[in-house]
Symmetry: D4
Subunit: 160 residues, 8 copies
């Protein structure tokens, strides 16, 4: 059974979204990844959002750029938590994606991560944190992941 | 028969959108105005967009603020021209609405006007310009409207 | 037992954070609200974060303004999901709070909501969405909340 | 007979504007493309705008960068719809072009597209949408274009 | 004979432009002030720019807001120096006016002052500086003006 | 005799400032170019500003980046017109230089050009426009320069 | 003997700078406060900076708005630490002051505080921190000040 | 004995921070450089901050990017002066780091330098300026450093 549904607005987002996918794989969290656009395949998107819970989805991750309506549209059709990844863009460097993703009006929340790859990795971790509330195995992996980060930094030697 | 469909994301947008409405009234262009939200009434919105052409709609005007997905979602469901009005917002003063409205990805255009009331008035005029291409009466009213603006400025006396 | 821990950087944030509190009350989700600052009470903050899970906390909400380190610092000390509310600020209108809250480096996610009161209300709803994954009662309330929003908009009549 | 007049402020804009041209060619919409500057050839520009309707022009597309006065100046001299393409710029990445293009004062609308190539492609599509209101052939092509986009996304397979 | 021509895009700009006017009056520099818009009275504007030198104009001051094309359009039709005053605006606080005024493409310079009243006062002084190059009386007044500013500051007593 | 004094904050600005120099050479306007910094050689800078008029300087051009105090400091020590060129910068792309150059407080004007090379070229032209008021030869060259720009654009053929 | 020299660009900055003054008074650190402008009284400013060390000054605090050259100019004439307070401004809300203050080129540091009153208060505290390195009494007061802030927050009761 | 403690959020910051290190080496100021993160090693960071004074630290330098909480967290745990270096970032070019570093709330100052390498170099110099108050040798080196900068500029010859 699926637990996380990742939706990206364009196949070109995959390189960035790969950071989220790697985390889910590392944490052995089953997921599904789809290219679906709020603007180009609005009906397929809605259909997908509505069926996802039946396939086990507990959390959505939505990645889109520019006028990034995707995460908000997903949130409009579900009561599951939606995590948004604002894609870096060519001209405005992701400021457009960020404001479109994060500035949701009252009533329909989207949980925005940071712009680009850092945000994508964090989307994977945040999905794990949500699932980890009731799944001790994931909780354990999160603790281990934090520990590895900590040890890596502690062992860093600077050559001056 | 309706010719313009105005959609606003919240009833609080009406004061701003009133500028567009006044223009359409002044130009005697039949229109319909609805409150419908891309985030709070997504299905009613899609239904409305799909039925509007049957009631005569040739042009959509969509006004929304913050993560302003409305105009883009309208554009996703129609091949009619969609004019977007980015609403002024409390914290970011409409920069969020503007970028969400104007920065549409390739394939699904939205015609963004300026932020707030000036943009709303221009949305009404731009709808008239589109309809005026094949409707000489509207064309005549646009010419008259421009002339009045011109004369008003020409007759302005500055007291120094 | 507590389920959500709300931390705000200053008592002056309470008016904004009240929007989150109202949602949690409305949804009958037990919570605790504390004033604790990443900069002024760093040790009390860490102590609070570490003890919160023992009192039942499953989700943190952190509200702070300007150089808003609070949500990130909470996230540094927990593997529970942390929701950030960027406070509107006097000079930069919350752009500083937003970037400080949302632009978390890879590894330590914070789920940023929109700036100010809309973001605070959404923080409450998003916390409910997370808890609603495994709590059907909350899920039911979320569905009802969405329905009320939808009906309110559908019943809006515009006087032209 | 011409139906769309494309004006660009500099020959260096052609690479970007080419996206609009490709759409018009694909849709078999007759057009004319000219280099004319609001700042460097103001009189030739005005003359061109005024004569264009006689040659069949129904819609203007204007592309310019930096202090992008072009679209606004075109709009000042016509009652036909004017679509603006804000060019990406070297230092401010098109934010200057965008604000100059979109922030038109009340009375003289310009329909701004997004910055750069995406905006140029959308300018072509938006011109087609305007003409498609009264030209069923173009309407059919727009439907087909949307369908192709939709199918392309639906057929996208992600390799994980 | 006139020496400075002040053009403002709207009569509502007069309160701000008054700062420039006061300087010119104080320095006894003859000037003319007109409301003329690049967008609403483009032909009257061009006519005015072309005739101004015959009435003695040596320097233009142009004040406009939002997509502030005015100063650039003046510069397009003259080889006299053009000083631009970006007006403060309701939503973007003058950032739109500033970028539209200052970001002129190579070949057609506009001398941008700061946003709003400070910029308007400086426009008056800068016009005086230009005229002061060959007019010793104005030069003397500029020296006196600077001296008064200096003395005012030197005599400021702070009560602690 | 010198007529324009060009000051740049760092020798690395020379590539950009070269655009202004080329214009002055082309217009045969005698000038002097110096590297002097408001922050690193404040006293040499003041000395240079004060002596420049004796060597014939009628106009200053000041180019600086980041916290670009140079043009403002020049303006503080002279009643001659000061033209500022905001340099493009590595991180903020010249937005810092632009705001530091253009946002002068009331009383001490700086005439800001656009960011980078376009602004540098315009600084040269604007200096010529100031000098051209009383020097018919320069006026003639400005007319010729404008004409060449116009003809170049008029002769541009677009290959579609 | 003086230990801190506070310079503000305009007497209107006093209300903001008062926050720094209150801290210095509270910590019993002798200081002097002067109105001196980098643009309007450049020579008096330099003279003051050069004489201040003789009167005991160990730290400068400089407050200015818009194109805020003041702190940088102070830093150019001293090897003592210079703390900058970017003033909130009418149009750009202090973003101009902030970038002018903080974006100093390599070689001449300015220590920028936050915009407006919070920054002014912090300027006072930071000056105390510098002096506290070698003055145990000030160090003790800083510890006490931090403690009071901590206790105030700890004692805050939230009424829900 | 150590006098300056440099903390960077990630080993990838070392290239930038190297500019500060070079200054401290050049000025023969003993220092220690550590990689420690406010988000990934919060406890090790606090422990380090608290022990640093015992090893001689008088000044902290903290370099971090994105939501740059590091300098603020250091400042929360010490009464020694903390200098912040906002790192340049991939998408927002350091604007996020700058606002996170500089916009500290009242009570806990951080002295922000400019973004990136210029800021890092200035952090080293500013630390020297603080130490130079009571250490004449460092004062002498600062004077010499300023002199070298001055002479370098004075000796710059521009080839035209």
């Amino acid at each position: 059974m699926n637990r996380v549904s990742i939706i990206m607005g364009s196949v070109s987002d995959l390189e960035t979204v790969g950071e989220a996918i790697n985390i889910l794989k590392e944490f052995k969290i089953p997921f599904e990844a789809k290219v679906l656009s709020a603007h180009r395949t609005p009906k397929e998107l809605i259909k997908y959002i509505e069926q996802a819970p039946k396939k086990g989805t507990k959390v959505f991750i939505a990645a889109a750029g520019m006028s990034a309506a995707l995460a908000g549209v997903v949130a409009a059709h579900t009561i599951l938590p939606v995590i948004g990844i604002p894609m870096e863009t060519k001209s405005l460097k992701g400021l457009d994606s960020l404001l479109s993703t994060v500035q949701m009006p009252a009533g329909i929340p989207v949980a925005s991560m940071s712009i680009g790859k850092a945000g994508a990795r964090n989307a994977g971790i945040f999905a794990a944190e949500i699932l980890g509330i009731s799944d001790k195995k994931i909780g354990g992996k999160l603790l281990a992941y934090k520990k590895v980060m900590r040890i890596k930094i502690k062992n860093t030697k600077i050559k001056l």
